[in-house]
Amino acid sequence: MNMNFFLAAAEADASGTLPFYLIGLWILILASFTGLEIISKVPPTLHTPLMSGANAISGITLVGALYCVFSDVGVSAQVLGFCAIVLATVNVVGGFMVTDRMLAMFGTKKKGGK
């Protein structure tokens, strides 16, 4: 950590900005801890919906896929990018809808119970 810090400072000095991968690593570490803390207490009822919802969020790679269909990089890259968009969208749309379907059942049950 310390070394990265000095490295970052040195590179920042040279180029005027922090290199992205160092900013990214900071973000990565903090986001990881956020994820760990958020999940600590979950009732078993929600394990499946939570897994499904988190899975849909991991479809965020869709944002990356959208960067990959720029038109001047050759057809093969574009086709790969297109496939990436399709697959990620399946994950995102399907994931959120299925999660909602599961959670909706808890909802109706509550109304019925009270």
Binding site: T17, P19, Y21, G24, L28, F33, G35, I38, S40, V42, P44, T45, L46, H47, P49, L50, S52, G53, A54, N55, I57, S58, G59, I60, T61, L62, V63, A65, L66, Y67, V69, F70, D72, V73, G74, S76, A77, Q78, L80, G81, C83, A84, I85, V86, L87, A88, T89, V90, N91, V92, V93, G94, G95, D100, R101, L103, A104, M105, K109, G113
Partner: protein, 495 residues
């Protein structure tokens, strides 16, 4: 000049704020997903965050032309690809989400997860092809892999590696869960030796492709890495027994998040890193929760061959099994004061959750105290049974988890085990040699009478014998769970 790597850094303040809001909503949504009351709102929040992120990105790439400056015509030409991809993918997603039965949920999550992994893989490959085709000048004579670009090429390597393992691993998990594949080996695939070899080769490719390979070479290395990692994913999941699939899916879910985060390093996009690592960490915690529930370490799950050797046990191994019928059971239930229902995967397969509720309600009307004992890994995923019983409108307050219910069995007159096996196997306590030794199980045998509804005496997911069935206080009611419960309801009404 084409500079995809600076995409997210060149955003205006407002554009940054939109991405930031999206990241915030992901975190808040995930947090809300952990509470029953707010879970649905949380899921909506996360999906709005995703929609925001996608619309912003489409605007940035296809309208504003953020990622490159080769003329607005070229930029606009990418729009149909985006819209097309979103429409096709969205259509498939909607179709699958609407069509699939609640009981098949675990498989579906595994499948979706594989798609996410595949997407990260393709993003990384598209970047490699784009760089490799020479259409993307990083600088004169500069190649991707000069040490200066190592952060990107390492990220590409990791994204390919993790994405590929997620893809094939999830597909194998999908096949195992949907009962399409039971094999624990295909020739040498799945053996530990080969896995270690593949893993070493894969890491070698990441390092070589990251620091050493240049230009066209790096493309070759990354393609080799893809092939190796795809095999590795198969090899890692194939030997794992079906009973451990929930843990595997949760772990692969975590992987797909990490793969997405790695694409964030390639494209220099903070949002990808935040959302990806959130899922990466969340999946890891869920995995741990599940391992704890089974009293197994993650290493034991991943490397032990669970339930492979004992799979051959069949009916003939059982002696002194008492079978019963609905007519016999009705008076038994009527005389009971406290009944505990223990559902398992058989309930899901037979779609018997509604019949189960009906029987529960019927008993409840007679003044019988009915509760449900849910083992954390009953079914194919943690919480699988909760979801099914919720679908059938069973009251939450009647569902108890392992720790809450285990002391209650000794007070119960009747326990009805519906299509569950391994989660109430006394071997876990009695036989230290058993593959499930030490796993906490439901102590159903403490009850006066245990009724087990099961299609046959065949082994459960762990592939081992269950001596519970031979006990004196255990009655076997053979048949499909739905049919059996239906018969019990009819007989009970006729009393």
């Amino acid at each position: 000049m084409f500079t995809p790597t600076l995409a997210a850094l060149d955003l205006s303040l407002i554009e940054q704020l939109v991405y930031m809001a999206s990241a915030f909503y992901f975190v808040a949504g995930l947090k809300k997903l952990t509470k029953v009351k707010t879970a649905r709102a949380g899921n909506r929040m996360a999906s709005i965050a995703m929609l925001t992120a996608v619309l912003m990105t489409v605007y940035l790439v296809a309208v504003k032309g953020e990622v490159h400056a080769s003329g607005m015509d070229a930029i606009r030409a990418s729009l149909p690809w985006m819209i097309g991809g979103l429409v096709v993918g969205g259509g498939i997603g909607v179709f699958l989400a609407k069509k699939v039965e609640m009981t098949e949920m675990p498989e579906l999550v595994a499948f979706f997860n594989g798609m996410g992994g595949a997407s990260s893989l393709f993003v990384a490959l598209a970047t490699v092809v784009a760089f490799g085709s020479g259409a993307v000048p990083i600088g004169p004579d500069e190649t991707l892999s000069v040490f200066k670009g190592a952060d990107i090429s390492i990220s590409i390597g990791l994204s390919i590696l993790i994405g590929s393992v997620t893809l094939t691993g999830s597909l194998i998990a999908y096949a195992k869960l949907s009962g399409k594949m039971w094999k624990n080996r295909f020739g040498p695939v799945g053996s530990q030796g080969l896995n270690i070899l593949l893993a070493v080769l894969a890491i070698g490719c990441v390092v070589y492709g990251g620091f050493i390979a240049t230009g066209g070479m790096s493309m070759t290395v990354f393609l080799a890495l893809t092939a190796i990692a795809l095999f590795l994913g198969v090899g890692l999941v194939v030997p794992i027994g079906g009973a451990d699939m929930p843990v595997v899916i949760s772990l692969l879910n975590s992987y797909s998040g990490i793969a997405a985060a790695m694409t964030g390093f390639i494209l220099h996009n903070n949002l990808l890193i935040v959302a990806g690592m959130l899922v990466g960490a969340a999946g890891l915690i869920l995995t741990q929760i599940m391992c704890k529930a089974m009293n197994r370490s993650l290493a034991a799950v991943l490397f032990a061959k669970f339930g492979e050797e004992d799979g051959g046990k069949d009916d003939s191994d059982y002696v002194g099994v008492t079978s019963t019928s609905a007519e016999e059971l009705a008076p038994l239930l009527e005389a009971a004061e406290k009944v505990i229902i223990v559902p398992g995967y058989g309930l899901a397969v037979a779609q018997a959750q509604h019949k189960c509720r009906e029987l529960g309600d019927l008993l409840g009307k007679e003044g019988i105290d009915v509760s449900y004992g849910i083992h954390p890994v009953a079914g194919r995923m943690p919480g699988h049974m909760n979801v099914l019983l919720a679908e059938a409108d069973v009251d939450y307050d009647k569902l108890y988890d392992l720790d809450q219910i285990n002391g209650e069995f000794k007070n119960a007159d009747v326990v009805i085990v519906i299509g569950a096996n391994d989660v109430c196997n006394p071997e876990a306590y009695d036989n230290p040699q058993s593959p499930i030794a030490g796993m906490p199980v439901l102590d159903v045998w403490d009850a006066q009478t245990v009724i087990v509804i099961k299609r046959s005496l065949s082994a459960g997911y762990a592939g081992i014998k269950n001596p519970l069935f031979e006990r004196d206080n255990c009655l076997m009611f053979f048949g499909d769970a739905k049919k059996a419960l239906e018969d019990m309801v009819t007989e009970f009404k006729d009393l």
